[in-house]
């Protein structure tokens, strides 16, 4: 493939007000201060390592009809993405709560989970670089997965629809487990 199909003359939206540079009206001194400010902002709020990869993996969903659940954290879980993985994670969206306890094993993590309200929902665990692991919850909403690979992880729950109801899909942000 040739990435140079049309050697267009770099037309910068001629005549459009978009041409105006935001540096307009700034003295050199102002510019320098802004550069310094940029450095400071980068130092105080550095982008966490690996974050782009976590987001990119979270975006590799085929079905675009989903709701995003929020991880519920208490203080003991702060730093989940840093070093130690949490024992139990909980996420919620609307009336749905999902609790998962994660226990490290030899070939991965064991997941024991509980969905409220219960029902035969499908639980899919996506881990970067691996095939997804899928199981079904029982009527009470409990589910277990014996060996989930470690890595960037996202949980996807396909809620069993009552009757002819449109099924709902709930996804979590990714974390490293």
């Amino acid at each position: 493939m040739s990435p140079t199909e049309r050697p267009s003359g770099q037309s910068a939206a001629s005549g459009d007000p978009a041409d105006i540079d935001l540096s307009e009206g700034l003295s050199e001194e102002d510019e320098r201060l802004l550069v310094e400010l940029g450095t400071v902002l980068e130092l105080v709020h550095p982008v966490p390592e690996g974050m782009a990869a976590r987001i990119q993996f979270a975006l590799e969903l085929d079905d675009l009809e989903f709701e995003v659940a929020q991880w519920q954290r208490d203080d003991s879980l702060v730093g989940v993405r840093g070093s130690a993985a949490p024992d139990t994670i909980t996420f919620t969206v609307g009336d749905l709560t999902v609790m998962v306890s994660v226990a490290p094993g030899i070939n991965g993590n064991r997941f024991d989970g509980w969905l409220v309200p219960g029902g035969p929902h499908t639980v899919e665990v996506r881990v970067h670089g691996h095939e997804p692991t899928t199981t079904s919850a029982d009527e009470g909403g409990r589910f277990a997965l014996a060996e989930v690979p470690r890595g960037i992880t996202q949980i996807v729950v396909h809620l069993a629809g009552g009757d002819s109801q449109r099924t709902r899909t709930v996804v979590t942000p990714t974390i490293v487990l």
Binding site: P17, V44, R81
Partner: protein, 201 residues
């Protein structure tokens, strides 16, 4: 297939920079180009992240918020009305999502000068540990004394690069013509604080 976008129709997204690139990536992502979506994350996530942190969220909550914003974009690829205003859309969505997730560290409006000066000299700012030089600490302190509006405007100026006036104006709910002068005043105020501090610390 013609995409009907005035700025982007000539070149593929990987040859573009800035806003035209974001617009072209968004359009490509709509037709399933995953690399284009990934490129958007690489380009714009630093901005999204700093907006989230700027709302006073701790890093863990901020990452949830930021991921939620990107997943929301994925869901709404087709309905982001103006591809060229993507940075602006991301900022707005991040703020909205952040305010739904405000944790204990509820962000307060900047205090008046005297009070904030006393507090600062007594406690410093939590993020100051990351700053090694007096100059950078002074800049950070001065920045935090600015009104929120100034902080937001300067953050966008610094992070969105050659941000385009109309989008900045829309985001800040300012008449387009007043962005430049307002920002000029914000920088002057910042410099004023810096000069004052220079004498005392």
């Amino acid at each position: 297939m013609s995409n009907g976008q005035t700025i982007t129709e000539d070149a593929p997204w990987w040859e573009l920079t800035g806003y035209p690139r974001h617009a072209a990536c968004l359009i490509a992502a709509r037709s399933g180009d995953r690399a284009a979506l990934h490129a958007l994350v690489v380009d714009l996530n630093p901005l999204v992240w700093k907006v989230a942190r700027g709302q006073g969220l701790d890093p863990t909550i901020a990452e949830d918020v930021v991921q939620t914003v990107w997943m929301t974009l994925l869901r709404k690829l087709d309905s982001v009305a103006e591809p060229q205003a993507l940075a602006s859309w991301l900022i707005t969505t991040t703020r909205r999502e952040a305010s739904r997730n405000k944790n204990v560290a509820e962000r307060v409006e900047p205090l008046d000068d005297d009070a904030s000066e006393q507090l600062l000299s007594a406690y410093g700012l939590p993020e100051e540990e990351a700053l090694r030089t007096d100059r950078n600490r002074a800049i950070w302190r001065a920045f935090n004394r600015l009104p929120r509006r100034c902080q937001d405007l300067l953050r966008m100026t610094v992070l969105a690069g050659r941000a385009e006036y109309d989008h900045v104006a829309k985001e800040m709910r300012m008449p387009r013509g007043s962005i430049g002068p307002t920002r000029g005043r914000c920088i002057s105020t910042l410099r004023g604080y810096l000069n004052n501090e220079g004498g005392t610390s």
